[in-house]
C-alpha cells in the first residue's frame, strides 16, 4: 500500500512537472508539431468571421488566421477555428487553447499590459456606434437620454457606453448579454431602444435583422476601436510571425502585388518586391519560416486590399468603404513598416 502511495505521488509530480515544462517550448514549434493552427474566432459576425452552410469560415479576421497558416504550412486550410465569445476569448488564449486570437478584439492598454497578451497589429480601424429603429425619430446619440441599450458584456463597448453617457450626463439603462446573438435578438424584440457595438458590427448585424431598412446607424462614433490579432505574452518569435503576416499583406497591396499577379511579380526587378517575395534576402528565415513566406500568403489568401474588399468592402454584402482602413498612401491609417 505504501508503495502504491509513493507511486501515486511520483506519478502526480511527474505529470505536473511535465506540464510545467511543456509550456516553455515555442508556439511555432507546437503549431508545426500539431500540423494545424488553432485560431480563436468570433461566434459569428458577417464580414469578420462567420461559418457558412458548409462550415467554411469567411471574413477578414478568418483570413488573418489563414494567412498565418499559409505562411507556416503553405496551406491556408490548416486552421481549426474555435469560436469564442467576448467573455471567454482571453482566458482561452492565456490557457493555450488557441495559438492566436483573431476576432474583432480592441487593443487597449490594460489588455496589452496586464492580461499577459500582446497585440500584433491593427487589421481594422473601427469605432463604437449605435443602431436604433427609424420610427423612434432619433438622429443623435445625445437624444438617447432615458433609453434602454443592449450590449455585449465584458467588452470595451460596455465601458465606452458608460463613459460616454456619464460624460454627457445622460441617464440610460444597460441590458448586457453574454453572446452577441442574444444581444441582437433582445434588440430586435424591442427589449432595448438601441443596440451598440463597433460600427462594422452594426452594419453586419443589421443585415441579419428581419427588416434591415427599418433601422439606422446613428452618426456618432464614440470611441476608437483598433481591432487586431492577439497572441500570448512571452513568445517574441510567434508575435513577429503574426505581426509580419499582417505587414506582408499591407506591403503587398502597397507594391501592387496581388493574388492574380504574384507569380509574375516573382520576376519583378523592384528590390522591395524582391525582398517581399523572398527572391532576395533571407527575411523569412529570420522568423523561423521559409523565404517565400509572403509569397505564399499573397498567393493563397491575397493582399490586404483584396481581403478587405472580398469580406467587408464592395465585394461583400456589407459594402463598407475603406475609410480609415485605406493605405497611408491613399489617405488612410494602414501603414506597414518596410521589409528590409
Amino acid at each position: 500500500m505504501n508503495k502504491f502511495v509513493a507511486a501515486a505521488l511520483v506519478a502526480a509530480a511527474t505529470a505536473l512537472g511535465v506540464s510545467g515544462t511543456q509550456a516553455q517550448t515555442g508556439t511555432l514549434a507546437q503549431v508545426k508539431n500539431r500540423g494545424i493552427l488553432h485560431c480563436g474566432s468570433g461566434t459569428g459576425l458577417a464580414g469578420f468571421g462567420l461559418p457558412d452552410a458548409q462550415g467554411n469560415w469567411t471574413g477578414i479576421d478568418v483570413d488573418m488566421c489563414r494567412a498565418v497558416a499559409a505562411a507556416i504550412f503553405n496551406d491556408p486550410a490548416k486552421v481549426k477555428f474555435i469560436p469564442l465569445s467576448a467573455k471567454d476569448r482571453f482566458t482561452s488564449l492565456q490557457s493555450g487553447e488557441v495559438d492566436l486570437l483573431s476576432r474583432t478584439t480592441t487593443w487597449t492598454m490594460s489588455r496589452d499590459t496586464s492580461l499577459g497578451l500582446n497585440f500584433a497589429g491593427i487589421n481594422y480601424y473601427d469605432g463604437q456606434g449605435f443602431m436604433v429603429r427609424k420610427k423612434l425619430g432619433v438622429d443623435s446619440v445625445l437624444k438617447l437620454a432615458g433609453a434602454s441599450i443592449c450590449t455585449q458584456q465584458g467588452t470595451t463597448t460596455e465601458l465606452n457606453l458608460a463613459d460616454y453617457f456619464r460624460a454627457n450626463n445622460l441617464k440610460y439603462e444597460v441590458v448586457a448579454f453574454a453572446s452577441n446573438t442574444e444581444t441582437v435578438k433582445a434588440y430586435e424584440s424591442g427589449r432595448c431602444d438601441a443596440f451598440t457595438t463597433d460600427a462594422s458590427g452594426l452594419y453586419a448585424e443589421r443585415l441579419t435583422l428581419s427588416a434591415p431598412a427599418d433601422h439606422i446607424v446613428l452618426p456618432e462614433i464614440i470611441s476608437k476601436e483598433p481591432l487586431g490579432p492577439v497572441v500570448r505574452h512571452g513568445d517574441d518569435l510567434w508575435l513577429d510571425i503574426v505581426k509580419w503576416t499582417h505587414y506582408a499583406m499591407l506591403n503587398a497591396e502597397e507594391l501592387g502585388v496581388s493574388k492574380a499577379n504574384v507569380d509574375e511579380m516573382l520576376k519583378s526587378e523592384n528590390p522591395e518586391i524582391k525582398r517581399l517575395l523572398g527572391t532576395e534576402g533571407k527575411y523569412g528565415e529570420a522568423i523561423g519560416l521559409t523565404n517565400d513566406w509572403a509569397y505564399r500568403i499573397v498567393k493563397l489568401v491575397g493582399n490586404y486590399g483584396e481581403v478587405f474588399e472580398k469580406n467587408v468592402g464592395q465585394g461583400s454584402l456589407l459594402k463598407i468603404a475603406r475609410g480609415q482602413n485605406a493605405l497611408w498612401t491613399k489617405g488612410g491609417l494602414q501603414y506597414a513598416p518596410p521589409i528590409r
Binding site: 502511495v5 492565456q94 496586464s114 492580461l115 460596455e158 448586457a176 431602444d193 500570448r232 505574452h233
Partner: protein, 397 residues
C-alpha cells in the same frame, strides 16, 4: 487490494500495525497528504505560469473602479465610482434574491403538484403528471429562452404601456409600479410588525398548552393574521401615514421613476420555479407514498377527516423522506440560477465571472471566489435543512 504485508515486522509493533484503527488513521493521513500535495502543486504551478506570462494576479483589482453599469441592483452601483468589489456584491445579491424567492415559490408549487398527482381527481392527477413529465425532460436553458421570449413577446413596447389601476404599468421593459418611499416614522410600523409576530408566537404556544390541557382549539391562523396585519396598520395611521410613493412618469423612451421589475428577472424566476417544482413534486409524491396506507386507515378509524389526516398524520411522516432530496433541489435551483447569464439577468456569474473577469482578466481569482461563494451558499442551505431534518426525524423513545 490485498492486505498481506510484504515486509517482516518486529513482533512488538505487530499489534500496532495490525490495529485497524491505527491503519485507518495512517491511510487517511496518507490520502490527506496526497490531496494537499496535489492542491499545492496545482496552485504553485498556476502561480508560476501566471508569473511567466506576466498576467497580473492577486486581489488588488477588488478596489479598482469598475467603469460599467448594471441595470438591476439592490445596492447603489454606477459606472462612476463603484468598484469591482461592489460589482461582486451586486451580482451576489441578485443571485440570492432570485434563488430565495425561487425556493419559496417552487416549494409551494412543487407541493401542490405533488399532492395533486396523488389526487383521486383523474383530470387533476393527469394534469400534474403531464406537468412533471414535460418540465423535467426539457433542458432548463431552453425553458429559460422560452420564458424570456414568452414574457417579452406579448408585451407592448414602452410607448404603448398597458396601464393597470394604481399607477402600475406593464411593457416590454418590465412591470413598473409606484416605488414606496419610507418616512422616518415608518420605523414604528416595522417595530409594531415584529411585536405582533412575537405576540403571535406567544399566543400559539399558550393555545397549544391550553389544547393539551383542555382539548379546546383556538383559531390560531386567524388570530396570527389579525395581529400581524392589524397592529402595524394601527401604528401606521397613528404615526401619520409615513409612506409616500414615487410614481412612474412617461419619459421619452420609457417610464421613469417608480419601481421596476425587469423581464429578465421574471423570466428567470418563472423558469427556475417551474423547473425545480417539477422535481419537488416527485419528491413530495415519493414522500407521501412512503407513508404506509395503514396510517391513513388508522387515522380514519379514529374519526379524523381527510384534511387533518394529511396535515397531522401523513405529511409529518412524509417530511422525513422528503427533506433530504428537497435540500438537493434547493441547491440545484441556486446553482441553476447561474444560467441567468443567457438571458441577461445580472446574477453573480454574469456580473462577476462575466464582466469583471473579462475587464480584469484575473480568471483564477474571480473563478475561485465564485466557486467559494456557491460552495458557501450550498453549505449554509444544507446546514439549515439538516437542522430542520433533525427536528423532523423520528423521535425514538
Amino acid at each position: 487490494m490485498s492486505s498481506i504485508p510484504t515486509e517482516t515486522v518486529q513482533p512488538g509493533r505487530a499489534s500496532l500495525l495490525y490495529d485497524p484503527k491505527i491503519r485507518g488513521y495512517v491511510y487517511q493521513l496518507a490520502l490527506l497528504a496526497v490531496v494537499a500535495f496535489l492542491i499545492w502543486s496545482a496552485a504553485s504551478n498556476a502561480i508560476e505560469n501566471l508569473r511567466a506570462q506576466k498576467i497580473a494576479s492577486g486581489f488588488g483589482f477588488w478596489h479598482n473602479a469598475a467603469g460599467f453599469d448594471v441595470n438591476q441592483k439592490l445596492i447603489p452601483f454606477s459606472a462612476s465610482g463603484s468598484t469591482y468589489g461592489q460589482a461582486f456584491y451586486v451580482g451576489l445579491l441578485n443571485t440570492l434574491l432570485v434563488a430565495s424567492i425561487g425556493i419559496v415559490l417552487s416549494t409551494f408549487l412543487g407541493f401542490f403538484v405533488g399532492v395533486a398527482r396523488l389526487s383521486p381527481n383523474w383530470v387533476l392527477s393527469k394534469l400534474a403528471m403531464i406537468y412533471v413529465e414535460v418540465i423535467r425532460n426539457l433542458p432548463l436553458l431552453l425553458q429559460l429562452f422560452f420564458w424570456y421570449n414568452a414574457v417579452l413577446k406579448p408585451l407592448p413596447d414602452a410607448r404603448n404601456s398597458i396601464a393597470l389601476p394604481g399607477n402600475i404599468f406593464l411593457n416590454n421593459r418590465g412591470l413598473i409600479m409606484p416605488n414606496p418611499q419610507f418616512g422616518p416614522a415608518f420605523q414604528a410600523v416595522v417595530i409594531a410588525f415584529f411585536l405582533a409576530a412575537a405576540a403571535a408566537v406567544v399566543f400559539y404556544i399558550w393555545s397549544k398548552k391550553q389544547q393539551e390541557r383542555t382539548g379546546k382549539q383556538y383559531p390560531n391562523g386567524l388570530i396570527t393574521l389579525a395581529l400581524i396585519i392589524g397592529l402595524p396598520l394601527i401604528v401606521y395611521f397613528f404615526a401619520g401615514q409615513p409612506l409616500s410613493f414615487d410614481l412612474p412618469q412617461q419619459g421619452r423612451f420609457n417610464l421613469t421613476g417608480g419601481l421596476q421589475i425587469y423581464p429578465e428577472f421574471v423570466a428567470l424566476l418563472i423558469g427556475l420555479t417551474t423547473y425545480t417544482a417539477g422535481f419537488i413534486a416527485e419528491v413530495v409524491r415519493a414522500g407521501i407514498l412512503a407513508v404506509s396506507r395503514g396510517q391513513t386507515e388508522a387515522a380514519n378509524a379514529l374519526g379524523l377527516r381527510a384534511g387533518p389526516t394529511l396535515k397531522l398524520v401523513v405529511i409529518p411522516q412524509a417530511m422525513r423522506v422528503i427533506i433530504p432530496p428537497l435540500t438537493s433541489n434547493y441547491l440545484n435551483l441556486t446553482k441553476n440560477s447561474s444560467l441567468a447569464v443567457a438571458i441577461g439577468y445580472p446574477d453573480l456569474v454574469q456580473v462577476f465571472t462575466g464582466t469583471v473577469l473579462n475587464q480584469t482578466g484575473q480568471a483564477v481569482e474571480v473563478v475561485a471566489i465564485t466557486m467559494a461563494v456557491y460552495l458557501t451558499i450550498s453549505l449554509v442551505t444544507s446546514l439549515f435543512m439538516n437542522i430542520y431534518n433533525k427536528r423532523m426525524a423520528l423521535v425514538e423513545r
